[in-house]
């Protein structure tokens, strides 16, 4: 069992195995299943992410009319070759926004860690699989890395916007994706932890202020920010840069910030963007 990122790192050193195997073993122990069964359940989660991405419908709009169509616009823009972020990042942006829109439009997604932040991990992972020519098994391993990071955040801070603000949702998703990507690029446990720490540090203090209380504005586009932040954070770690503050302490800081955040900006729609004049006009 592990409670901290540092537990996972220590146990992987002691048992001469890698980060994801510690998470897999703990799941097998906890749920009383074999490691193989656990792996296949995780594979289903990854496959469900891929299906959700493939089933994006460019025509669908949310009930409020605020969400839909942005993924298609970004797709068309990427096709022109004018997106200066390049092919890899352009694709990640596109998949992130598409998944956020699919969620808002009542399509099937994988909450990872939440429905509102469901675009971050699949955007990073599906593009990494394609562009880095990785196997599905490797992607499932990376899912364990993300799950391990997310579990530690859930235990020591929060994954819910209502208790921790958006840092707990998009911030956590970004940290989970960054750690997974570092693993896929050959990073060791320390680099996984640093990637997660960088990603989360960039998201600390983020308010949860959805317009009309809906998982649409600003949630959908924040999936893009979380996914791109995961990419850059993993690259910092892979360059050998160390986080000045260890991942566990960043998570603890996130918890304290979440506690100190006023309730107006914790999913109540009583502050921030939700009370902007345009938001007030839009929601009747």
């Amino acid at each position: 069992m592990y409670h901290l990122i540092s537990d996972i790192i220590r146990q992987s050193e002691e048992n001469e195995c890698v980060f994801w195997e510690i998470v897999q073993q703990a799941d097998a122990d906890e749920r009383g299943v074999s490691k193989e069964e656990s792996f296949e359940t995780m594979r289903k989660m990854y496959q469900a992410m891929r299906e959700a991405d493939e089933h994006y419908d460019p025509k669908v709009r949310s009930a409020s009319g605020m969400a839909g169509g942005a993924g298609q616009l970004l797709h068309e823009y990427n096709e022109t070759g004018e997106n200066i972020c390049g092919d890899f990042v352009g694709k990640v942006m596109e998949k992130a926004i598409k998944m956020g829109e699919s969620n808002a439009c009542m399509h099937r997604i994988v909450a990872a860690p939440t429905a509102g932040s469901c675009g971050v991990i699949p955007a990073v992972f599906l593009v990494a699989e394609e562009m880095l020519h990785l196997s599905e098994d490797q992607m499932v391993e990376a899912m364990y890395v993300s799950a391990g990071i997310g579990s530690v955040i859930a235990e020591n801070a929060s994954l819910a916007g209502a208790s921790g603000g958006c840092q707990a949702e998009i911030g956590s998703a970004s940290a989970m994706a960054a750690g997974g990507l570092a693993y896929l690029q050959g990073g060791d446990a320390g680099q996984i932890a640093d990637a997660a720490a960088f990603a989360l540090k960039n998201m600390l203090g983020l308010a949860c202020d959805p317009v009309g209380g809906l998982v649409e504005v600003p949630c959908i586009k924040r999936n893009v920010a979380g996914a791109v932040n995961a990419l850059t954070s993993a690259q910092l770690a892979m360059a050998g840069i160390k986080s000045a503050i260890p991942a566990d302490e960043v998570i603890d800081a996130m918890r304290r910030i979440g506690n100190e955040m006023p309730s107006n900006i914790k999913e109540t729609s009583l502050g921030g963007l939700a009370t902007s004049p345009t938001a007030q006009k839009r929601i009747v």
């Binding site: 998470v23 703990a26 799941d27 906890e30 749920r31 359940t41 995780m42 289903k44 989660m45 469900a48 949310s62 009930a63 409020s64 699919s102 969620n103 808002a104 439009c105 009542m106 399509h107 099937r108 997604i109 994988v110 909450a111 990872a112 860690p113 939440t114 429905a115 509102g116 469901c118 991990i121 899912m143 364990y144 993300s146 799950a147 391990g148 997310g150 579990s151 859930a154 235990e155 994954l159 819910a160 209502a162 989970m176 009309g212 209380g213 809906l214 998982v215 649409e216 729609s269």
Partner: protein, 222 residues
């Protein structure tokens, strides 16, 4: 901590609490009714009432009542499906005091005339709590096989239930007792580690002073 609550569940959006949790409330209420509903009155409260429209909360509850799970892609079509199946659905505001912000009150009538009133709360993620059955307070998650026994308040009923379960090798994980008033209506909720067979329910129903016995099984749809 189940890692598949962190990476997962697979669900129809947009909100784990207002959509997936709402599906689960409907699904569990239907299981407690133990038959296809014919007439359902859905009363919403708090945030469910205020932001439910944009989150598809109403459709989600109806979908659950029709036996759909949180990942069922037919959830957005729940109203049409209810109509096709001849289920009469109506909505209102729940008149509750100081309830959880995400609360739904479901008043159900089944095809054979069975009735039940369930109050469910969506308490975070897609987790839920069944807060009352037929007006008597309860407190269970629906994560375990759950036996709900309605009896007259008095001695011997707990022992009758526990004896029958023991005979079947069923372990009670959690047990709660509620009553409206001394000697009045009481409800016993037993969350078990194993499934409770149908014949145990039948035997319980024959016990003098036990009225209704409802059961929430974990195996598929009834």
């Amino acid at each position: 901590m189940n890692i598949f609550d962190v990476v997962g569940p697979v669900m129809v959006g947009p909100s784990s609490s207002h959509t997936a949790g709402a599906v689960r409330i409907g699904y569990i209420a239907r299981k407690l009714l133990a038959e296809q509903p014919r007439k359902v009155q859905i009363n919403l409260y708090g945030s469910f009432l205020a932001t439910g429209e944009g989150h598809g909360t109403k459709k989600a509850i109806v979908a659950g009542l029709l036996g759909m799970q949180t990942d069922d892609e037919r959830i957005p079509m729940a109203f049409e499906l209810a109509k096709q199946q001849g289920v009469d659905v109506s909505f209102g505001e729940a008149n509750l005091k100081d309830a959880h912000p995400n609360t739904a009150q479901l008043i159900l009538q089944g095809i054979s005339g069975q009735t039940i009133e369930v109050v469910g709360q969506s308490v975070g993620g897609s987790r839920i709590n069944i807060a009352s059955i037929d007006g008597i307070e309860t407190n269970f998650s629906g994560d375990y096989p759950t036996l709900v026994v309605h009896n007259q308040d008095g001695p011997g009923y707990v022992s009758a239930v526990s004896t029958l379960l023991t005979e079947q090798g069923i372990n009670i994980a959690y047990m709660q007792l509620y009553r409206s008033n001394r000697g009045g209506d009481a409800v016993m909720v037993a969350e078990c580690d194993q499934e409770v067979p149908q014949h145990v329910m039948e035997r319980l129903k024959q016990v003098d002073g036990i009225g209704k016995v409802t059961y929430l099984g974990m195996m598929g749809d009834e």
